[in-house]
Amino acid sequence: MIRLIPNSANQIKRAEEICFKFDDQLIKAHKGETILVALMKNGIHHLRDAPTDGKPRGAFCCMGLCQECVVAVGGKLVESCETIATDGLIVQSLRH
């Protein structure tokens, strides 16, 4: 089939892999990537449960504004879409 927009996925070279922990799961990420990107690549979208109704939530604005993607790192809440994953990082979801 003719594609006017070629698929260029295989031309992308990513940095070396690192590994961090999300709840009990080991997550592979490329160095320099945000926590969110690594999680999404691993098929993880459900990052927290909302207050009040307890419904699942995940990243929404992907640019540090909506606060939907917050996770806990070292006891502090951070936006996963803005926080770079580092090797050995321990990240906790806000899922109940």
Partner: protein, 364 residues
């Protein structure tokens, strides 16, 4: 024929609204006028602390009465009686705490001094550097954001008229009372109550009365939801910190650090110069707060006169005109002051004395 009200109230804060409710009990035809929304001034943005430990000694009987009013308002205003601790960290602060809280206890507040162990047993997460602490089981908080909603509902229930987005621009007198020129038409009333908070001075000046009203610009901040950290309200011996954790987990931090701006310009501004020490002090008291993010800070205007006692009574020299405002800790005491003011306007003897707005004011 335009309608003439028995009373027009300028200002839909806690003072104006609570007075209106008292008057409705006796069937007085009242209208409340606010330039913005009901409870958009100090009454809607304050820290909501209901603490006897930060009330002035002379106002203690009023504050005690105020507390029972809040208890009665209950859930509808987010009332919680949590008890409160006041903390001192230096010798000097401890002295201040002993001296002040003892006087307040004498004035009737059930305040006691507590040991560090007792404090820690009650609140594990507070700083271990506390030197002295006092406790009052009557203390608690309410949610000031609900002030507008609460009074909107209550005024409607009691068939009291109110108009929002109705700025009173000019008040003149005529043979039968007062003419109020407002942004939504003219209002006639035989009596007048000025309850315009930090905006009292210009409106009283319309009637040729000079009230020495000034305004403080208090700062409040709130964090995002946090895991449970404190269950009581927590204050500082100097009064420059009040802190509570709401049931949703958010921590509200106040204490009256001064922002910038004047009421006439509309809204004031938070300034980093005072916000940062305010938040530092809060973290000193509750170290876990360093993990929190502040999501919002704001200021509100708290009116006062030089002696820091209320203006509550007849507007000097103007028959049938009254003024209520400048009450320190006015959120706590407001609902009760409104009741007293209502009694007075109705010609009944108030349960506790009012504060003559015509007195000589000396600076404290």
């Amino acid at each position: 024929m335009t309608k003439t009200y028995d009373l027009a109230i300028v200002g839909g804060g806690i003072m104006g609204c609570s007075t209106a409710l008292r008057l409705a009990e006796d069937g007085m035809k009242t209208i409340v006028l606010d330039q913005g929304d009901l409870g958009q001034g100090a009454s809607g943005v304050n820290a909501g602390t209901l603490s006897l430990q930060i009330k002035r000694v002379k106002l203690m009987p009023y504050a005690l009465k105020g507390h029972s009013e809040w208890e009665a308002m209950g859930e509808a205003v987010g009332f919680k009686k949590t008890g409160g601790f006041t903390l001192a960290f230096t010798e000097h602060e401890a002295e201040l705490l002993y001296e002040r809280q003892a006087l307040k206890a004498d004035a009737g507040a059930p305040i006691t001094f507590v040991s560090n162990n007792a404090l820690r047993a009650a609140e594990q997460n507070l700083s271990h550097k506390v030197l002295a602490a006092s406790y009052c089981p009557e203390d608690g908080y309410a949610n000031s954001s609900l002030t507008g909603q609460y009074y909107r509902i209550r005024l409607k229930e009691n068939e009291v008229q109110f108009r929002e987005k109705c700025n009173v621009k000019l008040i003149t007198r005529n043979s039968s009372g007062f003419n109020l020129t407002t942004s939504c038409g003219t209002v006639h009333a035989t009596r007048l109550l000025l309850a315009a908070g930090a905006w009292l001075k210009p409106i009283a000046a319309d009637l040729g009365v000079d009230l020495p009203v000034r305004a403080r610009v208090n700062t409040v901040s709130v964090t995002e939801r946090m895991p449970p950290l404190i269950s009581s309200i927590v204050g500082h011996a100097t009064g420059l910190l009040t802190m509570k954790q709401k049931s949703n987990g958010a921590i509200l931090i106040g204490g009256g650090w001064q922002g910038q701006g004047v009421p006439q310009d509309g809204r004031g501004n938070v300034t980093a110069k005072t916000l940062i020490p305010n938040l530092s002090l809060a973290q000193h008291v509750l170290p876990e707060l360093s993990n929190a993010r502040v999501t919002r800070s704001w200021v509100g205007f708290e009116a006062n006169v030089p002696d820091f006692y209320p203006l509550a009574g007849a507007l000097p020299g103007i028959e049938n005109a009254f003024v209520l405002g400048c009450v320190r800790g006015g959120y706590t005491i407001g609902p009760y002051m409104g009741r007293l003011m209502g009694d007075y306007i109705l010609g009944q003897e108030p349960e506790l004395p009012l504060f003559d707005p015509g007195r000589e004011f000396s600076e404290v």
